[in-house]
């Protein structure tokens, strides 16, 4: 590992209380700890339901951290103010989610360019960079001015990936980035991940595709070890 860790998870616990289902309590995690440094790509593994996505979401900030600490680029996420998380996501913490969520009517090109615009880049440059990525991910140019809401599953996923790689975020979270892609596009995505790692990004990913995992991950962490009863 080179340089200071960009993701530091320490003794994190997580439970869900389902108030509308008789107050059932799910203890998902008791003591999760991991570190990801610049230039690493760490793959989360473990059985379905073990808590891979839950841990990733706590790092992204959309799941609350019940106990323990998660620091991303030095910023503590447990108890963070919304504006701190938003600032972190704008410049430092990137994310490829499983599903694309967009404002209807916004063209695919602008969906991809948006993170750059919110960083203050001018529109022409932002669109040019977005276009280059869409082209690389084999999205036909005639689709760029259209809203992705009507795209196929695989096309939507590629728009999502383009958006997730359009800015060189120093920390990247990838939730199944190669799911629903054909071989050629899968190859493009794997190269994008390798390039990000080479430029020094700290990457944490969930890859159900074992070959992909073997190719891009520098290390694996089994989240089953974080469970309550383990």
């Amino acid at each position: 590992m080179t340089g200071a860790a960009m993701i530091v998870v320490r003794d994190v616990a997580k439970r869900f209380t389902l108030h509308n289902q008789g107050g059932a309590v799910l203890e998902v995690m008791a003591a999760a700890s991991l570190r990801v440094g610049p230039g690493e790509c760490v793959g989360l593994v473990g059985a379905s339901g073990a808590g891979k996505s839950t841990l990733m979401r706590m790092i992204w900030g959309n799941y609350r951290i019940d106990a323990g600490s998660i620091r991303v680029a030095g910023v503590e996420l447990a108890g963070a103010e919304p504006r701190q998380v938003i600032a972190l996501r704008r410049a430092t913490l990137g994310h490829v989610s499983q599903f694309l969520r967009v404002v209807p009517r916004v063209p695919a090109l602008d969906v991809v360019a948006e993170p750059l615009l919110s960083l203050g880049m001018d529109q022409d440059r932002a669109r040019a960079q977005a276009a280059a990525l869409l082209a690389r991910l084999n999205i036909p140019e005639r689709l760029w001015p259209l809203s992705p809401t009507t795209f196929s599953g695989g096309e939507q996923q590629r728009v999502n990936i383009a958006r997730g790689f359009v800015h060189p975020w120093p920390v990247l979270l990838l939730d199944e980035p190669t799911a629903s892609l054909d071989a050629a596009n899968r190859e493009v995505v794997l190269s994008l991940i390798e390039e990000a790692r080479t430029r020094g990004a700290a990457i944490l990913g969930i890859f159900h595709d074992e070959a992909a995992r073997a190719r891009v991950c520098t290390r694996l962490v089994d989240v089953s070890g974080f469970a309550v009863a383990a």
Binding site: F16, G61, N62, P82, I86, L117
Partner: protein, 259 residues
Amino acid sequence: MTGAHPLLSVRDLTKSYGTRRGCADVAFDLWPGEVMGIVGESGSGKSTLLGCLAGHIPPDTGRVVFDTRAEGPRDVLAMAEPERRMLARTDWAFVHQNPRDGLRMGVSAGGNVGERLMAVGARHYGQIRAQAVDWLGRVEIAADRIDDKPRQFSGGMQQRLQIARNLVTGPRLVFMDEPTGGLDVSVQARLLDLLRGLVRQMGLSAVIVTHDLAVVRLLADRLMVMKDGLVVEQGLTDQVLDDPQHPYTQLLVSSVLQA
């Protein structure tokens, strides 16, 4: 874009209507550039809260501190009425759910926008008209409709006109009560896209009441959930929606198909 002070700092805000609770003990800080959503069932106090923040309804207790351009943080509720009214004209905007409440229906579209500029001191007719045309364009109303009255417009156009009328003076804080309510989905989407662009370009802060969780997810950085006049949960929008803690929020989130 992030100043040293919150743009709006609210503490202990309470308003009752006789024995009925409007809203109670509301507290939050809104920072420059932030968009806050307020959701909650009908009668939960959303409009009451918005009205108290915007100075339309005098609260029973509480503080609403606004970071003024000239003098820094000031308690709006303690200001003299003329000063507060001036602040409302220069720094705030209020977009009503019903465009009829926010527009002058007997005045032309251009007049509706120009009137606001005149209220903050603009006098040059040509410049006022040019700015009105510019803003009508930004909300996608064709220049040749400038002399039409709002009643000749569709609901979505009226709502866009209301937005132009409110934003033309360059406010720093916008209050919106169900701005996309009553509009069909494609018009809503267009309005949403417009609002997002304006928030980004102008660095506005906004407080938006809506019942639509999909709108909130796309527009708001943070979210406040109200029930029976009380704030039951607040935080980062996607955290409140994806990992709701309060029984009411869990019910609200699980009762919609996808947001």
